[in-house]
Each structure stands twice: as structure tokens, then as C-alpha cells.
């Protein structure tokens, strides 16, 4: 193996029989390789050291376009694996020097991997987002108000503003109530549920304000019912979006196995972000 290629690890799986769908490409444009070590398989791909060695990787990760392409390739491999097995997705940019580094990684993480694979077997992740579109008819909340003199007296103007605000508040309340109800119902069908930070429209490009961004770990056999439940939601001023099935990214961590530590980290980073 040449020195300028590193090993990117996408996921860890149990040995599986199926064949990956044709045309699956990893970051390097090649089909992913399966490296078996004991009772586990690492799904890897060769990547250039000029992008993935420590110093260049640091710089590359700051480049949103590069990051987006890499993240999509990472997910494409993981999604392809989901068609034949239940993969344990690794975090973006898990990189080893060579195959023996990958074997070492499998060995070091063996217990964790086996436990997680067991917990996730036969399950998929569904994403559910709720968007509030308050006062859809009344224009955007942040839009500058029309000039007071434009239509009627100042008092008319103030009354219209007040009415618009009241109606928006009602919309928020309805969206909030819907989120609580829906989350409770969906959690009842799921093996586990987690709530992500709401997404900013600047990246997602979605209309409305994201008020619920949740992920559910659902048994494959119960997925049909889950999807139907989400699709049945209909509420004015509120939009519900379903994504998936995803590999169980949001449930792959070891949160259940070390709740205090990992939560402390999560809470710390959340605080730092404020």
C-alpha cells in the first residue's frame, strides 16, 4: 500500500451475506472495502493523505463545501450498508494509517461495537421534524412593518399589529402542543427517541421555523405503522417532515452505557454554544 493513502472507516458491522448495491462510492470514488477481523467487519476506503492526514484534515474540515461532499459520501456508504445489514456508523473522519490500524481499532472497540450492534439489530432511525409556519398569511415575522400611514390611522395600524401578534401566538401554542403530542405518540412506537437541536433555515433551506427535530429508533417491523402515524398528522400552520430510514446514527453512541460522562460532555458543548 502506498504511503500517501490512508484508511477511512465508515462503519462497523457484523459479517453479512448480502451484496452492496451496485455503484456505491465512497469518498475516493471507489466502492468501499470490507475488512474482516474476528467477528466484526470494518467498512473502509482508501483516502488521500493530503486531505486526511491530521494537519490537512483540520484545514479541510473548515471548508464547508468539502465537508458537505465528504459527509454525503460517508452517508452514502452507510446508507448502502443499511440495505444489507444493520451498520454501526462511525463519526465522520475516523481515519487509520493502514489496515493494521483498522484491525487495532476493531480490537480496541470490540466490546462496545458488539453491544451496540446487538442493541441496534433490526432497527432503523426515522427523523421527524415539525415546522411552525405561524401567521402564514400575515407575512414573515421579521419583515419590517408597513408604514403606519399606509392604510388607515395609527390606531388601526396598532390594532392590526396586535391582532397579528395574537394570532401568531396561537399558532406557536398549537405547534408546541402538537410537538408534545406527536413526540409522545411516536416515542410509544419507538425503542428509543432523542431530540436534536432545531435546525436553522439558513442551512436546511426549509420554510417555517423548526420547532421539533427528533429521531426515533424503530424496529423494522414497526416502521410501517410509524410512518403512517407521522403521515396522518394534519394541523394548520404546522408542517411535519419525515426523513429516513437512516442507519441508527443518533443511537449509535454509547450514551446508554455511560450516561453521566457522555451527557456531561454534551451538556458542556451545548453550554459553550450559547
Amino acid at each position: 500500500m502506498s504511503a500517501d493513502r490512508l484508511r477511512y472507516v465508515y462503519a462497523v458491522t457484523r459479517p453479512f451475506d448480502g451484496v452492496l448495491p451496485e455503484g456505491v462510492q465512497g469518498i475516493d470514488g471507489e466502492p468501499p472495502r470490507l475488512l474482516r477481523h474476528g467477528d466484526l467487519i470494518a467498512v473502509t476506503g482508501a483516502v488521500p493523505a493530503e486531505d486526511f492526514d491530521e494537519a490537512p484534515l483540520r484545514a479541510r474540515l473548515e471548508d464547508l463545501d468539502w465537508l458537505a461532499a465528504t459527509a454525503r459520501a460517508h452517508d452514502a456508504v452507510v446508507a448502502a450498508l443499511s440495505t444489507v445489514t444493520c451498520p454501526l456508523p462511525l463519526r465522520l473522519a475516523t481515519v487509520c494509517r493502514d489496515d493494521s490500524g483498522v484491525r487495532r481499532l476493531l480490537e480496541e472497540g470490540h466490546e462496545r461495537f458488539v453491544r451496540a450492534l446487538q442493541r441496534l439489530d433490526g432497527r432503523v432511525e426515522w427523523g421527524v421534524k415539525v415546522y411552525a409556519e405561524p401567521g402564514a398569511g400575515a407575512g414573515a415575522e421579521d419583515a419590517p412593518p408597513a408604514a403606519p400611514g399606509a392604510g388607515g390611522s395609527g390606531r388601526d395600524y396598532l390594532r392590526r399589529r396586535l391582532e397579528a401578534r395574537r394570532s401568531r401566538e396561537g399558532d406557536w401554542e398549537r405547534a408546541d402542543a402538537l410537538c408534545r403530542r406527536l413526540h409522545a405518540e411516536l416515542s410509544g412506537l419507538a425503542e428509543a427517541a432523542t431530540v436534536h437541536r432545531p435546525q436553522d433555515a439558513r442551512l436546511s433551506g426549509a420554510a417555517g421555523v423548526n420547532v421539533l427535530n427528533a429521531a426515533y429508533l424503530v424496529d423494522r417491523t414497526r416502521s410501517q405503522g410509524f410512518v403512517e402515524l407521522v403521515e396522518a398528522v394534519s394541523e394548520p400552520g404546522v408542517r411535519v417532515e419525515l426523513t429516513g430510514p437512516w442507519a441508527p446514527y443518533s443511537f449509535a453512541g454509547i450514551a446508554e452505557e455511560g450516561p453521566v460522562e457522555s451527557d456531561a460532555v454534551a451538556a458542556g458543548t451545548r453550554e459553550a454554544g450559547r
Binding site: 427523523g127 437541536r197 436553522d200 442551512l203 420547532v211 446514527y249 449509535a252
Partner: protein, 106 residues
């Protein structure tokens, strides 16, 4: 674009990497997934600019809170912070009871 999934899984919403929303992918591959050190050691959270961008990208929590939608903060099932304070009060309660028992047996 969608691929057949075992077990007759409904798959009308493929996350095949080309149609999925970038924010959905980033919040999963950067923030979730198993963290295990390879030979190239980079903590994604240490990358300051990246972190700042992602805050912009996947965070509108403050905005939601302004609108009074903050239920995930107080629901113990949802919020690690709430769970922490729950643990802290449970801890305090247990300590109090131990002290009580010790007093009795002393």
C-alpha cells in the same frame, strides 16, 4: 433512487446522500455516530471554525426559546441538563437519608 430494504421497510424518504437535506446529514455524521480514535487524531469539537459554522447551521434554540418553545429543556426524558438536576436532587435526597440512618444507628 430508493433501494429495497429488507423486511419490507417503507423507504419513500431515501437518505441516499443525494436527496437528503445537508443539515440532516451533518447533524448525524458530525454529531452522532460512534466516536473511536483512529490513528489520525482529531476531535471535531476542537475545530473552532467548524464548530461555529455548525452552531449557525443546526442551532436556533435561542430563537425557539424566545418564542416560548423550550419544553425539551425541562422534560427529563429529553434533556440531559434536566436529567442532571434530577440526579443532583436525587443524590441530595439519598445523602440526607443516609445521614438520617447513620444518626439512628449511632
Amino acid at each position: 433512487m430508493t433501494t429495497p430494504r429488507p423486511g419490507h421497510l417503507p423507504s419513500p424518504y431515501a437518505s441516499d446522500g443525494s436527496s437528503a437535506n445537508l443539515a440532516d446529514i451533518l447533524e448525524r455524521v458530525l454529531d452522532k455516530g460512534v466516536v473511536i480514535a483512529g490513528d489520525i487524531r482529531i476531535n471535531l469539537l476542537d475545530i473552532e471554525l467548524l464548530t461555529i459554522k455548525l452552531r449557525l447551521v443546526v442551532a436556533s434554540v435561542d430563537r425557539a426559546k424566545e418564542m416560548g418553545i423550550d419544553w425539551w429543556e425541562s422534560d427529563p426524558a429529553l434533556s440531559s441538563r434536566a436529567r442532571h438536576s434530577e440526579l443532583a436532587s436525587e443524590n441530595a435526597e439519598l445523602q440526607r437519608r443516609i445521614a438520617e440512618l447513620e444518626e439512628r444507628t449511632a
